[in-house]
């Protein structure tokens, strides 16, 4: 059996590309916009998000047969919140600078619609290993959008990638200037809009 035909692969590829949580399902947009001024913060946010969504999927899927239906949202929120607190405290202990830059947005992973959406829509009705893979796929899908937006914003906004200046001095001498707008809020909205357009066009034209 080819790798691409397995159920696990489909579970992974779905959210990572065809049903991309941000571009296609319009979920979890808040943090995607806010942390993309620099690649570094976008990368850390991606890791934190992937950690929370895959583990919360795994835990909720393991518990799915014992969670009573009418209090499931509370149980899900408790699981998610505990994982977010873990991620938040970890960042604060070992990467304090980045955690300062991310400010409230690590905490806001709790309210990221992707996580609750996957817990409700996937983990509650699927076995643990698939739920975990689905979480990874969502993390990758979310991260790929985040990283591309951050790449555009950091490259054109401050002329650097991961904090290293890449625009040569000569270009600045010739009159090139960093585009201040890229660092401001409106640019994030517009870039995400254009990327969603591109991805929808690509997915639709493939059909």
């Amino acid at each position: 059996m080819k790798l691409t035909r397995t159920k696990a692969f489909k579970t992974f590829a779905g959210p990572a590309w065809y049903e991309n949580p941000i571009n296609m399902q319009m979920l979890g947009i808040c943090s995607a916009l806010a942390v993309t001024v620099q690649l570094k913060t976008a990368f850390v946010m991606t890791l934190a998000m992937t950690f929370v969504v895959s583990l919360s999927n795994l835990i909720i899927s393991l518990l799915r047969n014992v969670i009573p239906g009418n209090i499931r949202i509370i149980v899900e929120l408790a699981v998610i919140a505990s994982l977010v607190i873990l991620a938040d405290e970890f960042l604060r202990a070992y990467y304090f600078e980045i955690s300062k830059l991310l400010s409230v947005f690590v905490g806001l992973i709790i309210t990221n619609c992707i996580i609750l959406g996957r817990a409700e829509g996937f983990a509650l009705s699927n076995p643990p290993h698939l739920a975990f893979v689905d979480g990874l796929g969502n993390g990758v899908g979310y991260g790929s959008v985040l990283m591309s937006v951050a790449l555009i914003r950091e490259l054109f906004g401050s002329g650097s990638i991961f904090g290293y200046t890449v625009v040569p001095e000569r270009l600045y001498a010739a009159g090139y200037e960093d585009m201040g707008l890229m660092l401001l809020a409106p640019a994030a909205f517009i870039i995400i809009g254009l990327m969603a357009w591109l991805q929808k066009y690509l997915v639709n034209s493939r059909k």
């Binding site: 947009i29 806010a34 509370i74 607190i85 517009i190 809009g193 969603a196 929808k200 066009y201």
Partner: protein, 202 residues
Amino acid sequence: MVELLSLFLNSVFAGNILLAYFLGMCSFVAVSKNIETAVGLGFAVIFVLTVTTPVNWLIFHGLLSPGALAWAGLPDVDLSFLKLIIFISVIAAMVQAIEIIIDRFSASLYAGLGIFLPLIAVNCAILGGSLFMVERNLTFIESVVFGFGAGVGWMLAIVAMAAARIKLRYADLPSGLEGFAITMIVTGLMAMAFMLFSGITM
């Protein structure tokens, strides 16, 4: 008084919780298709923000912040890491309450908001309001003004967006651009307009 007014204006315009801090986007995109539901959700968000931010202020400064438990003989205890889980519980409870109120007084609005009413509980604007309140060291009165102002700013943005999207319905857009993509681009333009308010101080 003047500081409070300028805090209010700042949280409505230049520091708009949606257009400058990107909070509450999911419901913003999903519910801005017609003006009536946008207004309804806007009022719900104003209410929940105005109530939860001060309530969370009391809980944070009375129980969680470093040294808050000195009255109980525990001056070294710092429970502030619990803030996320406590805040979200307060918000969930408030949302439950407002759901009951709306269902009682306006069944049509209740039906129109549908799934997005309970989802206010996971609307990042609400939790964001409380977290910003902690991060910016607001006083109690300031937290009331900030919560209310952030709610008004959010409502202003979603109602304006709903109005714009009604016009967009008649636009002939290229494949893939309609829906989410054009909404984001229009939001970007709106954010640019709101940024112009940033010079205003009282």
